[in-house]
Symmetry: C2
Subunit: 418 residues, 2 copies
């Protein structure tokens, strides 16, 4: 089987001193992997001429493809372009399309590009320009001694746009890649190691050319089957068989049998039931609403929320009885039930999901330590509640609570949404 290997070279001091977390490489790794390209290494170097040139020389020796990101900004510390000119021993040319793009982007804001901005259209004369519809720095495609070099801006949405619109299509055209296919199942509510134990014999029985990957994230685990081979038909047929078996094995925790988000699955369940949801949030502070409004077209299933961080808001906006708060506390089953009632009345939705808890680091007591969180989901007939006891930091408690609440809502809709 024909293996095409790639290495990502990320350029920028900010990645070395830890000012920026490198999310670009994860995205590029995923996309190359899906396309059947083996990502061999990831290298990050600073804005240092020699470092960039050394990395290009060393990595071009045993890779077919080098993806270079970053250092294309208009400022003085961005030196990728001069380094590439030197490496390819190339001159400079102004790319008319790139120049027009700079003017277009600025005119959209009724502004005149400066000299510095216009320099973005200067490219090494040996490269093919990849148009960047999202920013002023164009992507650049080079070939030398059978190796493809792609230089992309480091701004995530610009890089992603270029990878999807230009780089992947051109790579698929340029190289003969093995047939590769994936099947992804999204599960919630069972930990990675428990899942692994549960499906150990399934995993052991997989043929060598089908790999199972666990992708855990805050209470969710994606299970991805990846099959490689020369015959696409055979690869897909085998994947379908094994994926069907996998889905039965994890059925109890299965959220979606596509690579969708948990929010996507919640939206699908609500659309299927033709129902709407609102959120009433204390400890999640609007995060559930934020997640539910992330996908386009959210207004079809989501109408609104009340973030009741302070008790006054719980009482005055949602009519939670002062007595409930006094007797049981804001973090209690009684209070989240009252929050659901209030939300159904105030927001007028079919369902309401409510949260109240102690995310930390402060606010814990011996009876209710940090990580004590109540969740409730209800409609006009019934309300179900769930008590969580986490012992993590604020950020992790927040992520886990949000995913658990959304999955609790999803199950409630599937059960009662008929």
């Amino acid at each position: 089987m024909n293996v095409i290997s790639a290495t990502i070279i990320t350029i920028g001091d900010e990645l070395l001193i830890g000012q920026t977390i490198d999310t670009n490489s994860a995205f590029i790794g995923q996309e190359l992997n899906k396309a059947g390209i083996w990502l061999k290494r990831r290298i990050a170097v600073g804005d240092v001429r020699d470092e960039i040139l050394d990395a290009l020389r060393a990595q071009s020796r045993d890779n077919d493809i080098l993806i270079i990101t970053g250092g294309l900004g208009p400022t003085a510390d961005d030196i990728t372009k001069p380094a590439l000119r030197e490496y390819f021993n190339a001159g400079v040319r102004i790319d008319d399309a790139a120049l027009q793009n700079v003017h277009d982007i600025f005119s959209r804001f009724g502004r005149i590009p400066s000299e510095v901005n216009l320099k973005q259209a200067e490219v090494p004369d040996c490269c093919t320009v990849l148009p960047n519809r999202r920013g002023t720095a164009p992507g650049m495609w080079f070939e030398q001694d059978g190796v493809v070099y792609v230089s992309l801006p480091g701004v995530p949405h610009e890089m992603k746009g270029l990878i999807t619109d230009s780089v992947l299509p051109k790579l698929l055209e340029r190289f003969t890649l093995p047939a590769i296919a994936h099947r992804t199942a999204l599960t919630a509510g069972k930990g990675e190691s428990d899942l692994a134990a549960h499906i150990a014999s399934f995993e052991a029985a997989l043929p060598g050319w089908i790999k199972l990957a666990y992708l855990p994230s805050y209470g969710l685990v994606r299970l991805r089957l990846t099959g490689r081979g020369d015959d696409a038909g055979a690869v897909n047929a085998a994947l379908d068989r094994h994926f069907a078996e996998l889905k039965t094995l994890v059925g109890e925790w299965l959220v979606a049998d596509t690579d969708s988000s948990l929010t996507g699955a919640v939206h699908a369940a609500l659309k299927e039931a033709g129902k709407t949801v609102g959120t009433v949030e204390s400890c999640t502070g609007g995060y559930l609403a934020r997640l539910l409004t992330e996908p386009a077209g959210a207004s079809a299933v989501f109408t609104g929320s009340v973030v009741a961080y302070a008790n006054e808001v719980k009482m005055q906006v949602l009519g939670v009885p002062a007595e409930t708060l006094q007797r049981h506390g804001a973090v209690s089953e009684e209070t989240v039930r009252a929050l659901v009632e209030g939300g159904l009345r105030v927001l007028g939705t079919d369902y309401v999901v409510a949260t109240s808890g102690i995310m930390g680091p402060g606010g814990g007591t011996p009876e209710k330590p940090v990580g004590t969180i109540w969740i409730a989901v209800g409609d006009r007939e019934r309300t179900e509640t769930l008590l969580l006891n986490y012992r993590f930091d604020r950020a992790r408690n927040m992520e886990l609570t949000a995913n658990t609440a959304l999955n609790f809502l999803r199950k409630f809709v599937l059960k009662n949404g008929k």
Copy 2:
């Protein structure tokens, strides 16, 4: 100046296929940088013997320190330890303290360690063990030909604990390090290239041992000065001088003269003024509330929000007149003003920030295309509004709107919060 350079080698397939985002390297980079160690490169390789050995050989040539993370788990695909044994041509020994640690950790959960778990105490006989109080895989410290090799588990909180408790103290003892210091200014409302042009002469006049870095992110730009030298006093004195000049130059857009977040600056302004804020969100769908409740202790300045995604919620919960919505539309100055009024009444806060706009991809019209967004901030005396016209995708429109709204709020508080 004595420059000590380090490279991070991260081991694990999951980092190459994009299953996990490499947050460890960012943390290690920050810590090394603070200590005055120059992080030269970051390399990520898969769980492949030859790749690991090649990386160790190549990187030991021009580095003083190699920090190796990952691949120390008990499962079959974790091959860092055998690779290190081979590299150092070392035998195996059982480390008693590490073995005791495995037993202690398991007994804490009332469990018996398996053979596999106990193997975690096996280490190459040429290493110094760095105790891991947070997990079963010990850290390992090697020295060969004047180069220090540190191998750490990839689990973030275990790695962090080892870096802080053992690795940094030992490195500071082992090497004489130059003084390094940073000054960071957070700016909002002016693009990277405009800022660069505005401070070009300042940047040109900086001495060679002080670097200026631009770190842009959705309408914000961090400007970081980094100074290196042998005399900490001199470095800091010079940085203070240049940083003071920089702050004056960018004063108009200066949000914070520390490396804080925009949310942090908003919280600081509200605490300073002794005031509270609530949000009323249509198009931002709870994102402002989410950001304002991210930091610990948010309840001191944030009391609650109404996410009024649907017009019914705007009318029924916030009392926006149906006529206002009919005549001017939900995305209009009149509506965001009414949202602020309603919010002040319903949430009872000192300030309310409101948003209404079209984030896309759907919902645009010729008069109000996608990216048309109204923001309003008000207290009981006055309300100020701002019209945005973005032409980006939903995610970027959302990030830019959120940062712009938070900064608009911050300025309003500074102006009227006396």
